[in-house]
Amino acid sequence: MATAGASGLNFSRRTLFSSFTSLPWGLILLICGMAVIGVATLYSATFTNPAEADLPMRQATRLTAALLVLIFVGLVPLSVWLKLAWPAYLVTVILLIAVEFFGVTGGGAQRWLQIGPIAVQPSEFMKVTLTLALAAYYHKHWNDSSGGFLIHFPALILILVPAALIFRQPDFGTTLALFASGGVLIFLGGLYKRVIFSVAAIAVASVPLVYMFVLQDYQRERVDTYLAQLTGQSVNVMDDGYQIEQAKIAIGSGGWTGKGYMEGTQSQLDYIPEQHTDFILTVVAEEFGFLATSGVLLLWMLILGMGMVIAMRAASLFGRFAAVGAVATVAFYILFNVAMVLGLLPVVGVPLPLLSYGGTVMLTTAGCFGLVCAVHLGRDEALHGK
């Protein structure tokens, strides 16, 4: 056994049990705490509607399953993840192409792929596998800081291919999320400042062009609504604007301490569509007020910060990039969702990890934090074997 390859060595050095006990349990506990807050909120959001009465229970079941996924991903040695990075990326891109041809349409977009009894959303997998691929790429090719900015081109292509495919579905939110978390990794990869500033300038300049020529009608409508409510115009109450307006009323009427658990009139009277999925934060804000809501955001910052600390401690570039990429993926979910709920971004349909009802985001979140755990366990491995 001792003569086995590097990855095998790593694995045999620890027993499964000692790996298990060495997991970052503080982080995992905080994640579980967030999940409990999620189920309680979901209960409040759904209890007046008997048709949704069993959603909290289902959510709890899914959370338990997600926790197992997290631990499983965490226990897989980092070296194995490094080996899996490219194949996983390729498979996900192939799945995305398959969605293009065989996908199931839902809600105006073709996102789902029916495999036997289960419907999968490859765009969600992409968030994790892109992180892995970029981490593997920089691990291998970034040897000194003088590599020039040309080494970032392949990384950009790694992002652009899936982003283009997902944009075609169309799924604007996920496309943005890929660019955002991929961009963070390129930024960490040492892209020259002057390039960063130029890209930023070009991006800002191209916004009107994207709006006019790239966006679909319904996406454009959302942006219009968004701009209208940002500037304080009254918006059509029956459409997206209605949702934002109702969400703002729910949140705003919460005050410092909220109206009390299950007492939120907005939440209980079904004013807010999707309040148990994307708009779950309105329930927290209305019923528990500013203190608790900002507490939830701070708890998230704490969790993400712990992830960053784990990333910084890793000996390998793969570990660092993977962990930061995972943290960034979850962070952008949260940022997009909260900004959307608070009326700062158009309604792009991004859920709030661990709080929103839904299985896909939960799986992505579990995968991301599982990866962070794997980095934690493999923090001393340099991963030069390759």
Binding site: T48, N49, P50, A51, E52, A53, D54, W142, N143, D144, S145, S146, V184, F187, L188, G190, V237, M238, Y242, Q246, K248, I249, A250, I251, G252, S253, G254, G255, W256, T265, Q266, L269, D270, Y271, A285, G289, F290, T293, S294, L297, L298, M301, L304, G305, M308, M312, A315, S316, L317, R320, V324, A328, A331, I334, L335, V338, A339, L342, L344, A382
Partner: protein
Amino acid sequence: MINRQVDALFSRRALIAAAGGSALFGGLIARLFQLQILNGEKYQTAAKENGIRSILAPPLRGQILDRFGRPLASHRQAGRASIVREQTNDVAATLREVAKHIELSEELQELIVRTASRRAAFEPTIVARELSYEDFAKLSLRAPDIPGLVVEMAQTRSYPRGRDFAHVLGYVARASQDDMTRLTADVSSDEGNALRRLFKHPDMRTGRSGVERFAEEWLRGEPGWRRVESNAAGRIIRELPSDDTAPKPGRDLHLTVDAELQKVAIDRFGTESGAAVVMDIETGDILAFVSTPAFDPNDFVNGISQADYDLLRFNDRSPLYHKAYDGTYPPGSTYKMVVATAALEAGVIDPRERVYCPGHYRFGNNTWHCWKKEGHGSVDMHSAIKGSCDVYFYEVAKRVGIEKLAETSRKFGFGQRWDLGLHGGRSGVVPDNAWKLQARGEPWFEGETLNVGIGQGQVSSSPLQLAIMTARIAAEGRLISPQIIGEGPRPESDIPFDEPLDPDFMRRMKAGMFGVTSEWGGTALRSGDLGLGGPRLAGKTGTAQVRRISREERATGILKGDDIDRKLRDHALFVAYAPHDDPKYAISVIVEHGEGGSKTAAPIARDIMAAAMQMDARRTPNYMRTASRLSGSSSGGL
């Protein structure tokens, strides 16, 4: 190890990224502060005034129509006042205000306050339904000034034919706890919860009995949502367009019955209580399904008072009871065709063989009596049916034996529950050895076979079964599929009834039944003429004993008429088909405590039959006409 330069750059960049992320989070918290604290007051007011709500809108229940499209169960508008707790500070004060305009007793006010306090604040509680026009107008006018009061027109289930179809249709009522359990028994928990929520709506009703219960899902429809805008007090200011969320009304259901024939039949019964079933021999369509007296299902829609319910429940003519379907009676002499068929099938008697009837029959140590004290003399099968000779059938039943009798009875449709798609229905009893061992724990005695031979004793059947038997005889053994739902959900056992019956034997039975009404010595000679100048009716009388006739009574002469209490008098039965030479309709009639089949039941059956033929009740129903027009094929005929 990582290149030192790379390490430093990465760490620097990671810190910048973390700082940037924290800044974004900080920005969100700032925005939260802005919304919740700085602008909190504005949004709190907005929340209170928040205007747009989705209100559950129950579906309109489907209508039930007769074969010619006449509504048997439909809707009418009824004014209604209700109170929504969250829209008023003081429910009691609101009710006192309401009581100034309409009659509302203090007890009722207290009850409403208690009911409302148990409900969710936004659920309406009914204050008054079935408002008179004046009350509705008065309250509507004042409603804007009375907080929490909602006055509206609602659709209420209505049964335009009143009592005529009480037992067939059943009735609808607010779903009770039991109803909820039953309605949600076979659905997923999601659907169950949605149903529970729906049935809590004050306008929602569920079928409690009859077709209303059987076809619940067919009739129910799907609920939708009304979007309404309301002011700060919660009063609805205007309806917003909500076509896409509108409820889907339930489907209409067509019965095979003819409402006019049903009415004629019920009127013909007058004050008698009893049942009648008229069937189209060719299609098996039930054209009239009468059980009288009946209750008025309209009384049940909004809940019937205990006092009124007790009046129905303890009425000795049992108006709540579906006598034609749930009632089982000894078939009496109408059963003699079954016994004769069993004998022919078993080959135990030649139809020409003569049996001597001296008015009584000895078996073992006992004596059985013929209804005709002086006896029929020598009779063959034909004259035995015609004159309904008991002695002949004692002898035949003894030869056939109970097991064979039971077998033939089942072929005629006795002993099984006919699932027509009405709630209820009884199978009656076809006794045999196994049945008696199970029911009574003792073996069959041969003496009992003699009683069964004249349709008394343990054997029992419903008027529906007698009509089916008659139809099968008239159709000379052809298959028959009794049905009352013409277009609607099919009952589970929706299969034609096709036990083999020998057409030759059936022709003998028909000849006997023709003799009953049309030959010298027939027991219902006066009822053979339909008064239509031609076609005659063929039938068979029967009397179902309500109690045993004691030896003393027999010795002192049988008591009749007014001498005995009504409740102890025998039931009168008559089964018939017409026209005798080309049978189209079959009928069975039972008059409870009507004493003799020929005296009370046969004239009623004849008049109903004449009406059916005059009205041509069996002509193609409306729903088949549209169906054949739409699909280009007819499912009618054979």
